[in-house]
């Protein structure tokens, strides 16, 4: 595999360090996210993703972490080419299962040019597919079908709540107002379905989280990576927090959203979020060192984040070109478990950013 060239591809496909949006629509405050219309694709924007992460439990009670992600990228502007191939859109998908009992991370990915019904992201509703992988809307529910290499996911998600992050979905990602995305989350998704590992199906239930975010230039040139966490709290609430790091590792921006069990939603200012790295783990494959345990202060909560397993590194150089850590974590306060969710750590290897 020509890894280097694929990295080049992704450097271009995904929002680059130069956060310019020449010719692309800009994300502006004051344009609230409208659901359900905004659940679909926004093809004019440069980048968009639907990101489902969550915890599953098998009939024997053993836990599994999973993630299913669909990216949409519009790397080039219209050229006037009437060819049906010249859609200007590329779709990428990732799927992974964190399997602590087997100490194994199953993962696979897809990439395809949009068009011909082979890879499509529908406008107006969540319905995105690459060949036989899909995340679609079925009535009130979402459905992910991912027959992957060595494993498979077939999961139905029942939404329980909607959170518009930032200001009505305008989520600022840097000091400039242009560094932003439209961003809403569906925390507390009730999951039911089947997971296949090595051809063996097992019925699962669990709780998950969907992020849907679109932008043309979320990150500015000073940003090299971020830490993000989304937690479904056992009390029925939810917490999302992120921070953006600059090349020296200092915090360039931060933010988050706290949803209380009663449905109240609070946007967290940069100062209200603090990430403190704890134990580190070095990937044996890429030699990248990730802080896999954290102390998180956000929205009045002081939490310790403990990973389901250390090795939840996603090597997606074949599709998005990024190497990052994306894993199931437990949120604790002392010995008490407050909730479960997913932690994402990017930019610890090459200075390459995903979100």
């Amino acid at each position: 595999m020509r890894i280097a060239t694929l990295l080049l591809l992704l450097a271009a496909l995904l929002p680059g360090q130069a956060a310019q949006a020449d010719g692309y629509p800009e994300v502006r405050p004051g344009t609230p996210v409208q659901l359900p219309a905004d659940a679909g694709s926004h093809p004019a924007f440069r980048t968009e993703w639907w990101y489902v992460t969550g915890w599953l439990s098998m009939p024997d009670g053993a836990p599994l972490g999973f993630q299913v992600t669909f990216f949409r990228s519009r790397p080039t502007l219209a050229t006037g080419n009437p060819s049906r191939f010249a859609t200007g859109q590329v779709l990428i998908a990732h799927a992974a299962i964190s399997d602590p009992a087997r100490a194994r991370l199953w993962h696979d990915q897809r990439i395809a040019r949009a068009g011909f019904g082979i890879a499509e992201a529908a406008v107006g509703r969540t319905d995105v597919a690459i060949r036989d992988w899909s995340l679609s809307t079925e009535g009130a529910r979402l459905h992910a079908t991912v027959p992957a290499d060595g494993f498979g996911l077939d999961l139905a998600f029942e939404p329980t709540s909607v959170v518009l992050n930032g200001r009505d979905g305008y989520s600022q990602k840097g000091p400039a107002t242009g560094s932003a995305s439209y961003y809403y989350s569906l925390p507390g998704l009730a999951v039911r379905g089947t997971v296949r590992r090595a051809g063996v199906p097992v019925a699962v239930t669990g709780r998950a989280w969907l992020d849907h975010e679109w932008s043309s230039a979320p990150l500015d040139a000073e940003s090299v990576g971020w830490d993000w966490v989304g937690l479904n709290l056992d009390d029925g609430g939810a917490l999302m927090a992120f921070r953006i790091r600059d090349p020296r590792g200092a915090v360039r921006w931060a933010g988050g959203t706290r949803r209380w069990p009663d449905g109240r939603v609070e946007a967290l200012a940069p100062a209200a979020v603090s990430f403190t790295p704890g134990r580190r783990w070095r990937s044996p494959r890429t030699a990248i060192e990730y802080p896999v345990e954290w102390r998180l202060g956000a929205g009045g909560l002081a939490l310790e984040l403990v990973p389901l397993m250390d090795d939840q590194e996603s090597d997606s150089r074949l599709s998005t070109g990024a190497v990052y850590w994306e894993g199931a974590v437990t949120a604790k306060a002392g010995a008490r478990i407050l909730g479960r969710g997913y932690l994402e750590l990017t930019g610890y290897g090459d200075p390459l950013r995903l979100r």
Binding site: R2, F85, I118
Partner: protein, 833 residues
């Protein structure tokens, strides 16, 4: 006893090397030349084919199935249909076009979806996937390293290409690394190429990777594909390629083997000479207690060693020739059958070993009879003086010869096997073998009719020849074999060329021809252009045609469909058979002979051809001769085609001049009026004819070269045979000198013998060769290329070669006589130890 025998062999061999190294070198050289020829031809063919396979594999990558129509392509709607099938993991759409370059030549362009392609063939297309974003620009082009080198451009440079809408400048956004592909090719995004090359909605190929566990061959049969589109496994692709060239390659292989066979006779002559020279040494060995079988084994081992050295040298030489040939002529030996790019000589070690062994085998075969003779030397007699017994020749075996000739005649009637004229080749081999066995009988008849000349020298010549018919026949075998095959090949090639030339006259009735450059799918001729041409001054009439490749059967190469105005009759086609009655409800078609041979299509029957994506049945009105396309062609009326396909686009045209108009001026006017630059070739009939014949001669140049070498080896065989005899007869010449023959009379006697025997051999070779040529023309040619030829004997050139051969034989025989008349010879009368 084996070791003793081998010691004898080595002692004998070493003694010979020390004694006469040059003579050994001749033996080794003869084997080496034969092996070199066979090896070179084989290596070139194998390497070219390997390269072609590699290119094919590279094209299709690790695709399990390749779905392809003809070059004209098919509707892209097939792409999503296939991509969404359950058994398909990835479908990679490809549009292939040959883009004429501004300033000459053309560049193959492939439009791909790099992301899908990389999923099938990451080694090549992974590079392109990395360039995905850059390739989205409509004018972005990625060149292979070879294309960049040959076009002299680098990353950031530009390539000017002739598009349908005029010249376009493409930007070279990247050059692939050398290892990615050996092809000279440019890559664009499939969407960009569709737009640029007026191929919107069109694809040429879809590579499929199937889900694991799906059997490609079986899955291919379940696909529902439009008419003219096939799903092939890459193996089948290779089969197509090798089918296309197999007949030509087998022809050359056979020729090379003939050279080797002739070399075997040469070894025979030199081994016989060696035995002759050492008969007393061998007799002494026998007298000293070496057994007859051991002497025999010793001589054979000596031959085997000669063969091994010759085989080694020949294989090395063949390798060098192959390298040079590939560099100079290309992988198809000038036949134009393979469009393989740079071909490097590749060979499995086992093949090289086989060629060395072939040399050994041939040398052992050549040493067999002299070895037998060496073993039968009566020691006492040979050690005694005056034993003038000469080398024995094969005796005429008339019944066996008759059986061989009859079998040879019978084999000519066998149908082709695996698409090859194996029966024809067997026939030639059997006729040759039978013919060689009859040589002594023929020589006897010739001598019996030579009469009794008055001149004492001539009398001596004839008496000598009559007294040693068997020996003379041996010296003739090599020349008979090589000359008869030369006659046969020359007759076939001449018949072909003669027929081809006349055919050119029939199929090129107009004065100026225009056609799109080969593969120039980026340019089109329409009715408007036709009208514009007809209005040009000096133009009397314009006819436009459409040719396109269509696929009739899965494993056969595509057939050319020619849509042209047929008018009431066959419209000037060289038709050789007509249907007695026709189904008037069907459109008419004339099929080439290949259709009859390959698909069983006959006049009066029907043929189903994909037109405009639908299968259409045509009534076959006649059979026409088409030397341009050995894979077959179908001519239909242009009006039918336009009606059936709904298109009015053309690829070729003919222009007739008004009385008094100048061909070249009209040609220039046509070219200027149409524009199109390099995409359009406009030529006068004269130029076209000259080019066609030149291409023909180039294709057969290698054939002539191999023939010449074979005849040269044959002649060398005659010379050596005479040298053998001259040495064996030294005492005789010495005695004749004592009797009062002048030196020049002895020389004249030898030259006379040489000339007479060569004349007999040439006449016999001519007769045998004409027999063989009938098999070549009517069986081998027909089964290889699927067209018939008019049988024409090149009397003039054969006469010249025959005369030259006789003269050469006389001169060389006379030269060997110099040995015979040297002063040493005088003393040979007292060689009495």
């Amino acid at each position: 006893m084996v070791s003793a025998t081998l010691r004898v062999a080595f002692a004998v061999f070493a003694a010979q090397v020390r004694d006469r190294p040059l003579r050994l070198l001749v033996s080794i050289g003869a084997i080496a030349v034969g092996v070199a020829l066979a090896a070179a031809v084989h290596l070139v063919n194998e390497s070219a084919l390997a390269e072609f396979s590699r290119a094919t594999r590279e094209l299709s990558g690790s695709a399990d199935l390749v779905v392809r129509g003809t070059r004209a392509g098919f509707d892209e709607a097939l792409y999503p249909q296939l991509a969404k099938l359950d058994g398909v993991a990835v479908a990679s759409p490809v549009l292939a076009r040959e883009a004429p370059l501004v300033g000459g030549g053309s560049l193959p362009l492939e439009g791909v979806d790099p992301l899908a392609a990389a999923a099938i063939r990451p080694a090549l297309y992974g590079e392109l996937a990395g360039l995905y974003v850059a390739l989205q620009e409509p004018d972005a082009l990625v060149l292979s390293a070879r294309a960049a080198r040959e076009l002299g451009v680098r990353q950031g440079g530009t390539v000017a290409v002739q598009g349908p809408a005029g010249a376009r400048t493409l930007r070279v956004v990247a050059v692939l690394p050398e290892g990615a592909t050996g092809r000279r090719i440019g890559y664009m995004d499939v969407g960009s190429l569709q737009w640029f090359a007026a191929g919107l909605g069109q694809l040429s190929r879809i590579d499929l990777r199937l889900r694991s566990g799906v059997d490609p061959a079986r899955y291919a049969t379940t696909l529902r594909l439009p008419s003219g589109v096939d799903a092939l496994t890459p193996d089948v692709e290779e089969t197509r390629a090798s089918n296309l060239t197999r007949a030509y390659r087998v022809n050359l292989d056979m020729l090379a083997l003939v050279a080797l066979l002739t070399g075997a006779f040469l070894v025979y002559a030199t081994q016989a000479l060696a035995v002759m020279r050492r008969r007393r040494q061998l007799a002494l060995l026998r007298a000293l207690g070496v057994r007859a079988t051991e002497v025999r084994v010793a001589v054979i081992v000596e031959g085997a060693l000669t063969g091994a050295l010759g085989g080694l040298a020949g294989t090395a030489l063949g390798w060098m020739i192959a390298v040079l040939t590939l560099r100079l002529l290309g992988g198809d030996l000038g036949s134009g059958l393979l469009q393989a790019s740079t071909v490097a000589v590749t060979a499995r070690p086992v093949v090289l070993v086989a060629f060395v062994l072939l040399g050994v085998f041939v040398a052992v075969a050549g040493a067999w009879m002299p070895a037998r003779h060496a073993a039968t030397i009566a020691p006492a007699r040979a050690l005694k003086a005056g034993d003038d017994e000469a080398i024995p020749g094969p005796v005429a075996r008339l019944p066996l010869a008759g059986v061989l000739l009859a079998a040879g005649a019978g084999a000519a009637f066998l149908p082709p096997m695996h698409g090859l004229p194996l029966g024809g080749y067997a026939s030639i081999a059997l006729l040759l073998a039978g013919g060689v066995l009859l040589v002594p009988a023929f020589v006897g008849v010739a001598l019996a009719h030579a009469g009794a000349p008055r001149a004492p020298i001539a009398g001596l010549v004839l008496a000598r020849l009559r007294g040693a018919i068997a020996q003379s026949a041996v010296s003739l075998a090599a020349i008979v074999v090589s000359f008869s095959l030369m006659v046969a090949m020359a007759t076939m090639v001449h018949s072909f060329r003669d027929s081809f030339e006349r055919w050119l006259g029939e199929v090129l009735p107009a004065d100026v021809y225009l056609r799109l450059a080969p593969g120039a799918d980026t340019w089109d001729l329409g009715p408007a252009e036709g009208a514009a041409l007809a209005a040009l001054p000096g133009v009397a009439r314009v006819e436009l045609r459409r040719t396109l490749p269509v696929s009739l059967a899965r494993e056969q190469p595509p057939v050319t469909l020619i849509a042209r105005p047929l008018g009431g009759e066959a419209g000037g086609l060289p038709v050789i058979a007509r249907a007695a009655s026709l189904d008037a409800s069907l459109p008419r078609a004339y099929v080439s002979e290949a259709l009859r041979d390959l698909y069983g299509v006959v006049p009066g029957g029907s043929v189903t051809v994909p037109v405009g994506g639908k299968p259409v049945r045509f009534a076959v009105a006649g059979l026409w001769r088409d030397y341009a396309r050995s894979t077959g062609s179908i001519v239909v009326d242009l009006l039918d085609f336009e009606r059936l396909s709904g298109t009015r686009r053309y690829t070729e045209g003919s222009v007739w001049l008004a009385p008094g108009a100048d061909g070249e001026a009209v040609r220039a006017a046509v070219a200027a009026r149409l524009g199109g630059g390099e995409a359009l070739q406009v030529t006068t009939t004269g130029t076209l004819r000259a080019r066609a014949l030149e291409a023909f001669d180039r294709a057969f140049a290698i054939t002539y070269a191999i023939e010449a070498v074979a005849v040269g080896i044959g002649l060398l065989g005659v010379v050596l045979a005479f040298a053998v005899q001259a040495l064996a007869r030294r005492a005789e010449f010495g005695m004749l000198r004592h009797l009062g023959l002048r030196r020049r009379e002895v020389l004249g006697m030898l030259a006379g013998e040489g000339a007479f025997m060569a004349a007999v051999g040439v006449v016999y070779g001519l007769l045998l060769g004409l027999g063989l040529s009938v098999v070549l023309v009517h069986v081998v040619n027909r089964q290889s290329f699927h067209w018939t030829l008019d049988y024409v004997v090149p009397i003039g050139s054969l006469g010249i070669v025959a005369t030259a051969l006789v003269a050469a034989a006389a001169v060389t025989a006379g030269l060997t006589g110099r040995i015979a008349t040297s002063d040493a010879v005088v003393r040979a009368v007292r060689e009495d130890w």
